[in-house]
């Protein structure tokens, strides 16, 4: 009983969000880390995925939920393509304006048009019960374990594909564009195709993550769940974890999800009777301090730190 409860907590409140954020972070890392296009529209693209999955699965209840997630990703990818077009003309920090426009417009749209929520009086979308191979994975009766396994499977697959993508021709053309776009153009990388491909594939990942976010994690959502704060959160993960690293996406997500929960639980563990408000304030300060600390120690992200640790451990305990 005790173990079951504790396990539930870790699955539902920690591991499932960690996996889903990792998925979104991989998506953003492909765009920002590999192709060098800054995006602050992650929340918006995730919302597209979430709402698309909801519309699809309520319109076609017989459709396998994994297929629904994939289709939701495709729809998000199409939307991402549209908002990626200005990247041909606008670069760097300035490009943020296009993705910010996407973020605010999409949230406004889903909030405004009742069709997206099937005219629900509550204005929210809810994950209906769906099964995969006879096991309930979404809806109120799906166990945390089932949802965890589903999220794990999807993110493993996503990471594997992403890893192969960035090692191949596409990944190299992205990096060429990122490092010197004009030079890349001269050696025959077509900027339009390359950039749009980055926007499309990145938004696909974000869309799938958004669908998972509603179906596997939250269970029901309003547009506020996808606000600009989510876009920033995923961007933090990518930078902290390491730009241009798939592993870094996981490490960044772990840092942003796990560290606050760790900090919240410390006073409990030490039996410190601090008022909750003070706890939260200290938590924020320590969290901010840790971000700065890790950047100073290793500006290239946790992925780089991990690599160093691995090398050190390989030699340890005989460093020479």
């Amino acid at each position: 009983m005790i173990y079951r409860e504790a396990g539930q907590y870790w699955l539902q409140a920690v591991l499932i969000p960690f996996l889903i954020y990792s998925m979104a972070a991989i998506g953003l890392n492909l765009l920002t880390g590999y192709a060098g296009q800054l995006s602050l529209g992650t929340g918006g693209f995730m919302a597209v995925g979430g709402y698309a999955a909801f519309k699809l699965t309520t319109a076609f209840p017989w459709l396998n939920i994994v297929v629904v997630f994939a289709l939701a990703g495709v729809i998000a990818a199409l939307v991402g393509l549209v908002f990626g077009v200005p990247s041909l003309r606008i670069k760097g920090f300035y490009l943020a304006v296009a993705t910010l426009a996407a973020q605010f417009f999409l949230i406004w749209l889903f909030n405004k048009v009742a069709w997206f929520t099937n005219y629900a009086s509550s204005g929210t979308i809810t994950a209906p019960p769906r099964t995969v191979a006879g096991v309930m994975v979404t809806g109120p009766l799906a166990t945390a374990g089932a949802r965890y396994v589903a999220a794990l499977g999807l993110v493993m697959l996503g990471a594997l594909v992403a890893k192969n993508l960035v090692r191949g021709r596409i990944g190299r053309s992205w990096m060429a564009i990122r490092d010197r776009d004009i030079a890349a153009e001269i050696i025959g990388v077509r900027p339009l195709r390359t950039k749009l491909l980055a926007f499309g594939i990145s938004s696909f990942y974000c869309g799938v993550a958004g669908a998972e976010y509603v179906f596997l994690y939250l269970g029901s959502a309003e547009t506020l769940a996808f606000d600009i704060g989510l876009s920033f959160l995923v961007l933090f993960m990518v930078i902290i974890g390491g730009l241009g690293s798939i592993l870094g996406s996981f490490l960044g997500a772990a840092f942003i999800v796990l560290v606050p929960i760790f900090l919240t639980n410390v006073p409990h563990m030490l039996h410190l009777p601090l008022p909750v408000a003070l706890q939260k304030q200290i938590e924020l300060m320590v969290f901010g301090g840790l971000i700065i600390f890790f950047l100073i120690v290793e500006p290239h992200g946790l992925a780089r730190l991990w690599q160093i640790a691995k090398e050190k451990l390989r030699l340890w305990p005989f460093p020479h």
């Binding site: 200005p86 003309r89 606008i90 670069k91 920090f93 300035y94 943020a96 304006v97 296009a98 910010l100 426009a101 605010f104 417009f105 406004w108 405004k112 010197r180 776009d181 004009i182 030079a183 001269i186 600009i228 920033f232 933090f236 930078i239 902290i240 730009l243 408000a277 003070l278 939260k280 304030q281 200290i282 938590e283 924020l284 300060m285 969290f287 901010g288 301090g289 840790l290 971000i291 700065i292 950047l295 100073i296 500006p299």
Partner: protein, 312 residues
Amino acid sequence: MTEILYGVFVGPFRDMAGSPAFLVEVLLGGVATGLMYSLVALGFVLIFKASGVFNFAQGVMVLFAALTLVGLMERGVPVAVALVMTMAVMVGLAFLIERVVLRPLVNQEAIILFMATIGLNFFLEGFGEMVWGANVKKLDVGIPDRSFIVAGVQINQLEMSAAATAAVLVAILAVFFQRTRIGRALRAVADDHEAALSIGIPLKTIWLIVWSVAGLVAIVAGIMWGAKSGVQFSLSLVALKALPVLILGGFTSVPGAIVGGLIVGVGEKLGEVYWGPLVGGAIENWFAYVIALVFLLFRPQGLFGERIIERV
């Protein structure tokens, strides 16, 4: 179909012509709001200009400045003294930031410095609230938030004062950059870090100065916004409204922040009041970015940003 076309292309203009006094009110409202955005955007510009850092914590600095000022006033410190003390706190904060955050990260990429300011953002959020509490505090700047009517046009005293403040602040900053020794040094650093260093301009001092000035601008922004909504945690979110202004104006230009603010302010008010009702309203947030986006498609470096020269 014709109805839609009429609603978009004819109706709003007919409304404008039908009630010119109201149109003037909307325009004035846009100008006043736009300048309020500019006040926040200025803080970003100063820091970006001199150090290439996009300071994510600027919004929280606005909050922190206002909280400090009001907190001191609540404890019975006279306004003038409280203001001086707040200025001292902001300069002290700039000193600490330079020492603890920026110096160890010198020569790192812009995105890394950006992330460091995110850490700073979290830290200040927690710290400010721990010291001053989370309640709404009234900030009375001595200017009544009342309106009077001139030729059928309603004018708000507080907003006009805010607009005047912004104008004065920009004038001071312009003089500071153009006429003083430090200002010239700042511009030199902005143009080329290494060249500036090589002729003996100390980067550390420059950073301390810009962060201090940005802190002082944050006080002004905090007072003006705090007078509108009371001083509370949400003040840190005004940064979001300054973002389109900043991008439109071009990150590095003080006049750009002002002109950008005016365009965004007036544009979003006109859009919301005349076109918003067609689609159910609340379009301002994304409309501001669409305005900025349209301008950027013609000038990718922002209105007043430095021209991007690309070489291979």
